[in-house]
């Protein structure tokens, strides 16, 4: 019977770890909110001062949003285009296996290699410098596999009968994809985009040398921009302010919570549409 207890114990430890991490972050984050005279609202809407020792993280949140939007602008069209090609047009051609293999390889590459590649290729070789543009380009290559995998899965889940119905009415392949397949696969695709955002927000290793660490508002494509995750990293490493590090960590965790809920609901909605 000891096996039963061992398994129960292991599960409790796993839950314990999660509760410990989230609890620890939440408690210390709340402590900061209560003690800090400005409170959480100012923290979110005030610009940082003295390298983050004082003030809030408003410009950093703005930089993070710019990074996400810019990255999505690059990777969503390409990712969606690739996934439509793979699931609708490619059929059994040999090129599909090459594409699928490269997507799996891309998904396996560690983020530090993307950081190294991005720094040398985008910043130095293409002279894009250290800033929003080279950072977002590096990230968009990194999240392409996430978007493609979820989009292909969502498109393949669309029943064949919808396509037959449309083709039998004399619709072209593109009409069928544009008007029938994509709309019903949309919730699944959006879930993929939301998951990609989760990965983009959590990235640090690939960003320090491609995106830079300037915490002021990035107001041009080439200006260096510090984002939430890099800010948390620097606050901790440099010992600038552990209270603000906790507050930033909580902001990150809350965003990840919202992302998980959003993607779960989107995936659920897709299954309702099919029944």
């Amino acid at each position: 019977m000891i096996k039963k207890y061992l398994i129960w114990m292991a599960t409790i430890i796993t839950i314990g770890i999660l509760v410990a991490i989230l609890g620890y972050m939440l408690v210390n984050g709340l402590k900061f909110v209560v003690e800090d005279e400005d409170g959480i609202i100012n923290f979110l809407f005030q610009a940082p001062k003295k390298a983050g020792k004082e003030g809030g993280i408003s410009t950093i949140i703005a930089n993070t949003i710019f990074m996400i939007v810019l990255t999505l602008i690059f990777c969503v069209p390409i990712g969606l285009g690739a996934s439509i090609y793979i699931s609708e047009y490619a059929g059994q051609r040999r090129s599909v296996t090459a594409i699928k293999f490269s997507i799996d390889t891309l998904a396996g590459i560690p983020s530090i290699i993307f950081g190294l590649f991005g720094f040398i290729f985008f910043s130095n070789y293409l002279k894009l410098g250290v800033g929003l543009l080279s950072g977002s380009l590096t990230l968009s290559i990194m999240v392409l596999p996430t978007i493609i995998k979820t989009s292909v899965e969502a498109i393949n889940a669309v029943p064949i009968s919808y396509r037959e119905g449309s083709l039998a009415l004399g619709a072209t392949k593109w009409d069928t994809v544009k008007r029938v397949v994509l709309p019903s696969a949309l919730p699944g695709i959006l879930a993929g985009v939301v998951l990609a955002i989760g990965r983009i927000i959590g990235e640090t290793a690939a960003l320090t040398f491609t995106m830079g660490t300037d915490y002021r508002l990035a107001d041009s494509l080439s200006s260096s921009a510090r984002v939430l995750s890099t800010h948390l990293y620097l606050l901790t490493k440099e010992g600038i302010s552990f209270e603000r590090a906790f507050a930033t960590a909580n902001v990150l965790i809350i965003i990840i919570l919202i992302i998980n809920m959003a993607s779960n609901r989107l995936i659920k909605r897709r299954t309702i549409v099919d029944e």
């Binding site: 449309s166 009415l169 004399g170 619709a171």
Partner: protein, 252 residues
């Protein structure tokens, strides 16, 4: 038998890889008549139906030999598949309504063929739903989700969808096999009404249905035509023994 011939099929052979689904089928389909295709499952009747509007093209490594003439033109050489499927509509066994509103389902065909004006679309939708005898039941909830309709209603919606592109021929692949008896009768009445304006080819397992609605019947077995002729001849004095056995339900 001097009526006009809509389809003329000359030694048609269809194979998936090395499996021969149909071998040298020769027949005519008469305009504005209902032709029923019967036979045990796997005899190639559905495959044959899907060659008429080239839906078989979707099947990977399919081999099609022989000629299928539609109004005298061979649809497998140089015939634009888009125009063909516009003229030769199809209703599937499982009603595949789109996950859209009832209105958008019917308007889908006209829209992809370039009709944009709302007024014309409203007119087409109304006409098509009337032809499918569904207008009265749905006219005040056109933008409700089509998936909320009953099985019989959904199948009639598919029919309305086909009507909306003004086809010349309507193919039906076991349209009522998933429906309750009441909806089945409704569909059969519809088929009789549509006969004046459209050529109808229907695949069915249901012998009584074939007898009730069709003018001609073709009996398929193992990819070949055993016997074909007017429905009365086939059902009341079948020439081939195998047809007689199938009709009387001894096998299949």
């Amino acid at each position: 038998m001097s009526e006009a011939v809509k389809f003329n099929i000359r030694d048609l052979t269809v194979s998936y890889g090395n499996f021969k689904a149909l071998h040298n089928v020769n027949m005519d389909i008469i305009e504005n008549k209902v032709t029923a295709l019967i036979g045990p499952s796997g005899c190639g009747k559905s495959t044959f139906l899907k060659t008429l509007n080239r839906m078989n093209d979707l099947v990977p490594n399919i081999g099609i030999e022989g000629r299928v003439l539609y109004d005298g033109k061979d649809i497998y050489s140089g015939y634009d598949v888009i125009t063909l499927r516009k003229q030769v509509g199809m209703v599937f066994q499982a009603s595949n309504v789109f996950p859209m509103s009832i209105y958008n389902n019917v308007a889908y065909g006209p829209r992809i063929h370039g009709i944009k004006s709302k007024k014309r679309l409203d007119h087409i939708v109304e006409e098509s739903l009337k032809k499918a005898a569904l207008w009265d039941e749905v006219k005040d909830r056109l933008n409700k989700d089509a998936l909320s309709l009953s099985g019989g209603q959904q199948q009639r919606l598919c029919l309305a969808r086909v009507m909306a592109v003004e086809p010349d021929v309507v193919l039906m692949d076991e349209p009522t096999s998933a429906l309750d008896p009441v909806s089945t009768v409704q569909i059969e009445d519809l088929i009789r009404e549509l006969k004046e304006h459209y050529t109808i080819v229907i695949v069915t397992h249901n012998m009584q249905q074939a007898a009730r609605v069709s003018d001609f019947t073709v009996f398929f077995l193992n990819g070949e035509i055993v016997e074909m002729g007017s429905t009365e001849d086939i059902f009341y004095n079948p020439k081939d023994k195998r047809t007689e056995e199938y009709i009387t339900g001894r096998f299949g």
